[in-house]
Symmetry: C2
Subunit: 335 residues, 2 copies
Amino acid sequence: MNHQWRIAARPEGRVKESDFVWAEEPIPTLNDGQIRVRTVYLSLDPTNRIWMEPADSYLPALPLGAVMRGLTLGVVEESRNPAYQPGDAVQGFGGWQEVYSGDADGWTKLPQIPGVPLAAFFGSMGHIGFTAYFGVMDIGQPKPGETMVVSAAAGAVGSIAGQIGKIAGCRVVGITGSDEKCDWIKRELGFDEAINYRNEKVGEALARTCPNGIDIDFENVGGEIMDAVLGRLNLGARIALCGLISQYNATAPVPGPYNFSNLLMRRARLQGFLVLDYAARFGEAAARIVPWLLSGQLKYQIDMVEGLRSAPTALNRLFDGANQGKLLVRVSSEA
Amino acid sequence: MNHQWRIAARPEGRVKESDFVWAEEPIPTLNDGQIRVRTVYLSLDPTNRIWMEPADSYLPALPLGAVMRGLTLGVVEESRNPAYQPGDAVQGFGGWQEVYSGDADGWTKLPQIPGVPLAAFFGSMGHIGFTAYFGVMDIGQPKPGETMVVSAAAGAVGSIAGQIGKIAGCRVVGITGSDEKCDWIKRELGFDEAINYRNEKVGEALARTCPNGIDIDFENVGGEIMDAVLGRLNLGARIALCGLISQYNATAPVPGPYNFSNLLMRRARLQGFLVLDYAARFGEAAARIVPWLLSGQLKYQIDMVEGLRSAPTALNRLFDGANQGKLLVRVSSEA
């Protein structure tokens, strides 16, 4: 039997376990061209909350009763597709279930890179690392000596984005929600400064840590934190708008930043982006990231949750700021 | 004697005549390198309101008591600068006064183009036409068949921007505040559709007039009008953020657009800009605009106010939406 989490209700605000139903169904036989993948890791991302909404977002809305959409890393167990062999490591939209059985569209075979464990494809490459890479390098257009601010800097994308900013020669300031996270991004990841938004007013902290203003904002959060960043933009600043996690649980319309007019006054460029739009350039990103990873220039941390049953409650860790690094659910063992 | 409007107080909300004081001073003798310019036309622009604020904006704040900053077209009456001769037509920051006497920095000699009257340098070239040109062509990156929306479409910049959008092959929809203006931009300027925001909900009107969504927003207004436009953005849309006139008179902080998150969902690019940043490319813009002007492809209208005394009250015409086309004050006669 294949166990699954299916969407049972549209969440109001925070996700509750009762918004899902734990289901099981027999594992079907494969048709020609199809593959069967055992889920090893399920990626939990803030955008999962968007996928539960009744309206289409950048992906079609999921109907009630559907298996929850999720990015997974897994191992091919059975294949009726000549491009895949049992034992292949693969990544795709496997969903919140133990076994995916279906078409191979949208699945990618992962290369075996000595020294790079399977989980790294979610920790520092794949959608996470590539998001950070294109946001910093393509939209941020970093120049050595510039100041870059990263919100949710101890999160999966933020922690990688800040390190790529450092590699590009920027002074990098991270905003996080705990002293422990501040400590981690400074000591382990090499951020120049860290701000705990729960302890200090972000505007004042930015005035202290960004005396020469802000050239690049890698924005994951929105709301008051982004507003404070927009208040200190330099002329010609770039904002890589990656996420707005502060408003994904909102139950009423959320106003945009009060410092919106600064985008005009400072002639800033703001670009919303999704990593899926860069699919044609994933090879370029991987070719840059892998050497950084192997040399230790780029570090990542996995925040592992055990067992598919935990997925609904674990998802809220992202919105509580409880995770440090990439939040994954271990659904089965690698070997 | 030289008559002037000097700043007497910081406006609260709308500008009042009492925020200025009518002053006179003797015309000074010139030093080496200086020029004396008789003001012919004073340009009134929404950004004048920003210049009255106590804080620095994209230009330094003006101290109380200073001659009000203003862009002017004039005629050189006396010159101790070898680059200028009496009779030269010039453009510069002459200020709200009858005569400018001072350094030649920032002044530009205007070419004599047969068929192009002096006022055209404010109506369709100079800061107005160049703002429209770079906003549409550089930031908007128009492709034939795309849909472009222009707010304040019967204003100085908006009316030119929409026509440049048409020249670039776009379907152009203008938003204005009266039926007369709607009529003008459709019949005279060739806009495809016009929306009177005082008669119709802008969101509904955009759904009707932009059935294929919006690819380019030439944004002059902000507030609810911009919010409605952001609600219908296509994937990869571009927003040329030129002005936010709806909030220049605000006396309390103004929230950003409620549809801000659509910039992320639709992967839109928003670029704030000021024409002064494009100074190095003004020649390119002029070379494109002059033929359009001479061939009649690009039309402009001057909304003329008589006499420097009228400037403070005339400024509010911009915020009331009373002007159609470029608002100028005639300070003295061309000849």
